[in-house]
Symmetry: C2
Subunit: 400 residues, 2 copies
Amino acid sequence: MPVGSAHDPRGQEGAAGVLEEWLYKGAGGRDARGLQDAFDDLGVRRSGGVGPEATRFGASGLTADLGAALALVADVVARPALPTHELPVLLDLARQDLEGLEDSPPDLLAAEARALGFPRVPGDDRAGYAHPASGTPEGLEALGAAGLRAHLERYGQAGSVLGLVADLEPQAAHDLAARTFAGWRVGEDRPVPALFRRGGRLHLPHPGGEQTHLSLSAPGVSPRSADWLPWQLALSALSGGGSSRLFVAVREERGLAYAVSASPLVLGGEGFLSAYAGSTPGRAPETLAVMLAELERLPGGLGAEEFRRAHTGLSTGVVFGAQSLRGRAHALTRDLALFGQVRSVRGLRAQIDALTLEEVNAFLARYRPALEATVVTLGPGDTFALPPAAQPQAAQGVGA
Amino acid sequence: MPVGSAHDPRGQEGAAGVLEEWLYKGAGGRDARGLQDAFDDLGVRRSGGVGPEATRFGASGLTADLGAALALVADVVARPALPTHELPVLLDLARQDLEGLEDSPPDLLAAEARALGFPRVPGDDRAGYAHPASGTPEGLEALGAAGLRAHLERYGQAGSVLGLVADLEPQAAHDLAARTFAGWRVGEDRPVPALFRRGGRLHLPHPGGEQTHLSLSAPGVSPRSADWLPWQLALSALSGGGSSRLFVAVREERGLAYAVSASPLVLGGEGFLSAYAGSTPGRAPETLAVMLAELERLPGGLGAEEFRRAHTGLSTGVVFGAQSLRGRAHALTRDLALFGQVRSVRGLRAQIDALTLEEVNAFLARYRPALEATVVTLGPGDTFALPPAAQPQAAQGVGA
């Protein structure tokens, strides 16, 4: 469903997270215990959760139980009981979850990097990407039954995607879904724009921590752009396998960090590059310098051997990703939401096979993520000697 | 391969971890870069790592590349280059990994709980279960090329298990594996006994932490015992789904902890119950009391409804676990190592289907994990009011 933590009403940060838990506190005429029992009676394994742009409800079970399991999911999203007396415990658990973030430096860093890189959209009544799914202490404080019930009105058929992997004829699957979700409200499909703050710099002191954690965000490519696959291939060369550029430069050649990676992040229909490394406080500055240097040399393009390996990695990755049925169901949903269509394994591999070195290097010649990167560090020291942003005019008003 | 961190020579804690990384620094006549390139040329995705009892090497790739991928894995384990000049960087990364443990309270707690619950076996020349796979600062300090090369002599065919999932006739698979690993040394298959310390109590102060993390270990059932499946079913009732006892008592009814779980742990051929919760410092004592109370009431047995749900959960879980080919390869290897045979999905489901409530309750009437539980807590306070162990004579010599 296309309502995530970014859609939380301003001042009610945490609404989507608490609402997702509340939905399971009884539905379709069952109380909380009865609903849990009904899922467990079918042996259905639930998954999902609240992301920045969407809330996902996943269920895995045996084919014989498909109709009953789907009906339970429909009860949860369309006919929840939302009992007021359950709210205090849920708010309390949400506060605990939020406090737990403080004990996990990489997660805390990711939340702070999101907040610096994707500030609230001026004039928008939604809180946007600047807070984690578990909310903020003030937001949780402000949440109440009436506000949450009103927020739920945004959840409905509009923009929702159902991915179903089962031994079933397509028409029968369609009829089952249509019947099960009939009458569900329309809801809202109103994406939150992701306005990236270029050249941001921030250090978060983490007294008592042993490591320094680095986060780097930069513009990337939209999933609907023709450059999407060339960008994916470049990311595979940058951070795909043991011979990828970041791994070799940071870890293999210099031993600067135990973990280093770069991956695509899609927010508001746009793609962004998100890189991470965990290092020692003493080596963190060099780690960051090497990461930025690797981004800076991307416009020089890939070599033929390097292209071939990244190409193989990307192509086989498509096959691995389609292996698990649960993964496939998730991919169907994600494909429709991000690409507007389902990408078949065969079709996607054919597209990747057709990519040429020239095409990828022509894209890279135009791709300058280092210039616009926003960097957030978290570590034991009070300060971190962050390199200045290449475009100082873009960094105004950004934390030190 | 049946050599894990527990087999690290005493005083060389971290040997298996560093050795695993070193093996990838060139093999079969290739240097480090050449080996990485060879894996990436095939698009092979590596997995695995060092566990307490075994080191796992996993590779996923396309069927057409099976022979070449298997040959690479054989080169790594049987014909590594082990270049001395690569060691300093590897030892340095291992130290970083170990320091990173300090920044992750749940992982730190798990390591300390292992150390308290499974002390070194007197007279054994192996370090045992009392240290994490990344070693100890002193152990890493003592590691050198000669000692690691000598340690590698323990790795070989004895006790090693190859799990292979591919579109291939069994005889052809057998011949391929025999040919590829021909001439590999015999090695050692010498399990490290897991001597559980009952009734241990320890609190680890974690200044600046927001949460208190609780770990509880207790005796369980050996994988080769007839009680294994009744125990698994009881664990499913205790911590399997939304209606499981721990989840309901700790989280749903009292809101004491965001996360609470119990799962089986197999060490030295024996099974143990391992439970975890993360709570606030103020609620941690009640959380622990509720967890212990749930263990104490296990001998009273399951109700009929509860049995049916746990039964369904266990049975469908077997189906889910067999979905991914990578997961299936891992399961084959684990089955042979722990159960001495491969358990087919169909056979295992039939065994589960045959379980009766009477059988499970007869087992539970004899099962008293609360009496012998060892508890470790980690949180911001200097002390934690740990309940006394039920068998004080077993707790002697154990930290406060």
